[in-house]
């Protein structure tokens, strides 16, 4: 029989090994993407790929700037919709709703996470896009707007549940203190609780951003995949993820390699977003 101390030491080693393993996997993936990107970087050049605005692989034109713009626009618009909604839901669940209402709404919101993205895409394609086409008066409805709405619903549960947890995690004294000073419930929520929980809310928004920019299947189905700079919310566009998903099966040679570069750009973009928000977050704490 092993002594408790041996088990204790052993378990910390095992946990360390797991931690290192996930780091190694990250390095391997990054290395693999980089290696597969090399032919395109050599033959087409990073500058031409990154700042090119024409995407015609069969004519040897591999510019993905339009898709960088598409990905960013869809992410920003969807977060602009999702963050206020999520915050509202979080405040409702943490402060306003009686326990019985909460017992229904919270699981319902969490259930949204479990719906596969292809199902969101299907609903978006069959129900939402035609609706937008009718209201917009022309086109097929496959658009930045449709994609953003679908995406907003998809990231809502992430942001809402993290925000709720962070509001709940606040010391009771914050709320009691505010109420004791004569603030109304609403003033307490809006002036004290939400600002105090902003770290958690922001963490939720960052996670949501990560999911939004990486979402693929639902985007392919509702955004129209046209490699152009979106001219408005009703314009079709293409995202970086969609570019890979739509074309990888059929791509060979340089075309395939450019799709790996697309992945690389996505990778870097996510890293930039994460570090930027980390920085902003740090500054605010300081």
């Amino acid at each position: 029989m092993m002594s408790r101390y041996t088990i204790d030491r052993l378990s910390s080693r095992v946990v360390l090994a797991f931690g290192v393993a996930s780091f190694i996997v990250l390095i391997l993936i990054a290395g693999f993407i980089l290696r597969e990107s090399l032919p395109a970087l050599r033959e087409v050049g990073l500058f031409k790929i990154l700042f090119g605005t024409e995407w015609y692989p069969s004519y040897g034109e591999y510019g993905i700037l339009t898709m960088v713009a598409g990905s960013i626009l869809v992410t920003v618009v969807s977060l602009a919709m999702a963050v206020p909604l999520s915050l509202g839901a979080a405040v409702l669940l943490a402060e306003v709703a009686p326990p019985r209402v909460r017992a229904v709404i919270r699981p319902a919101i969490e259930l949204l996470v479990g719906i596969p993205s292809v199902v969101f895409g299907l609903v978006g394609m069959v129900a939402l896009a035609p609706l937008i086409a009718d209201l917009g008066g022309k086109g097929s409805g496959s658009s930045v707007l449709a994609a953003s709405i679908v995406l907003a619903v998809m990231v809502l549960p992430t942001i809402a549940s993290i925000s709720e947890d962070s509001i709940r995690a606040l010391p009771r004294t914050y709320k009691e203190g505010a109420l004791a000073l004569g603030a109304t419930h609403w003033q307490t929520i809006w002036r004290v609780l939400v600002p105090s929980a902003r770290r958690g809310i922001m963490a939720g928004a960052i996670l949501g951003t990560g999911r939004a920019i990486g979402e693929t299947m639902a985007m392919v189905m509702v955004i129209g995949n046209a490699p152009i700079f979106p001219t408005g919310l009703l314009s079709p566009a293409r995202t970086l993820t969609g570019n890979i998903a739509v074309e990888i099966a059929a791509a060979v040679g340089v075309h395939q390699s450019v799709l790996y570069v697309t992945g690389l750009v996505l990778f870097v973009l996510v890293m930039i977003i994460n570090s930027a928000s980390l920085l902003a977050y740090k500054r605010r704490v300081d």
């Binding site: 339009t66 086109g139 152009i228 074309e247 059929a250």
Partner: protein, 263 residues
């Protein structure tokens, strides 16, 4: 301690069971994997169904992925049969000299619009201009993804070197294009004749309807062969299957599915 032993037994049992299953699959009648063109996919499925009914020990799975994926898969061995709705490109033939192309049926590429559209006849030049101009107030243009065999045939015959405007929507299969055109009033797209049904309207090209007869006699201009591609001459089950497809019964199935018989 007791608990972890139970888990261990469970894991061992699972491993043993999956090993047996894996062994069971690789033995016996043989597995054939067909993949590639979404145009050929429904046809492969019908052929497979009929073929398996007569050969119960055979297991055939049919996948999509696009024509270029079919060629690539046949070459690297992930597919036993690669399906392509176009001929091999010279680049592909040079890279993979062992690949053998079998014509298994013919097909027209129909230009389709919403069933409520007033348009029912366009010239090739008019169609080219619409696709080159892209989506605007008058048309919502639906294109296929890079690497689609239908798109390559379409670009070669209809576009003739003119680019389709990038603001056209890009959808990844015949079915997706059909669905989009069926639900969009001013949409125009192109799909395999085998996919045409009443949910969309196939327009006349230069006054010629996209029908089986017109494709066969060559008066409808946008025609291509559907191909099965194998790495070397086919053998065993793969050969039996392709022979079945080319038999009169196999060709009748193709005709029933809306494609065009060879010969």
């Amino acid at each position: 301690m007791k608990y972890s032993r139970k888990i261990l037994i469970g894991i061992v049992a699972t491993l043993a069971l999956s090993a047996m299953l894996a062994a069971g699959c690789s033995g016996g009648g043989g597995t054939v994997i067909i993949g590639g063109s979404s145009t050929v996919q429904p046809l492969s499925e019908s052929w497979t169904e009929a073929f398996i009914a007569d050969n119960l020990d055979v297991d055939i799975s049919v996948q999509g992925g696009g024509s270029s994926a079919g060629v690539k898969g046949a070459a690297d061995g992930t597919l036993d049969i690669g399906a392509a709705s176009r001929e091999m490109k010279s680049e592909e033939a040079n890279t993979f000299p062992n690949l053998v192309v079998h014509h298994v049926a013919a097909d027209g590429v129909a230009i389709v619009v919403h069933p409520g559209s007033a348009v029912d006849d366009l010239t090739l030049a008019e169609i080219r201009d619409i696709f080159a101009a892209g989506s605007n107030d008058k048309w919502t243009v639906i294109n296929r993804e890079e690497g689609s065999g239908t798109r390559e045939v379409y670009e070669e015959i209809v576009m003739g070197g003119v680019k389709v405007a990038p603001n056209a929507e890009f959808l990844p299969s015949n079915g997706a294009v059909k669905q989009k055109v069926a639900s969009t009033e001013n949409a125009i797209g192109y799909i395999s004749l085998g996919y045409v049904d009443s949910s969309v309207k196939a327009i006349k090209v230069d006054g010629v309807a996209c029908s089986e007869d017109n494709v066969i006699d060559g008066s409808y201009p946008v025609m291509r062969y559907l191909n099965y591609i194998t790495d070397g001459e086919p053998e065993g089950t793969v050969k039996d299957y392709i022979d079945f497809c080319l038999s009169s019964r196999g060709q009748q199935i193709a005709a029933d599915e809306g494609y065009i018989k060879l010969g």
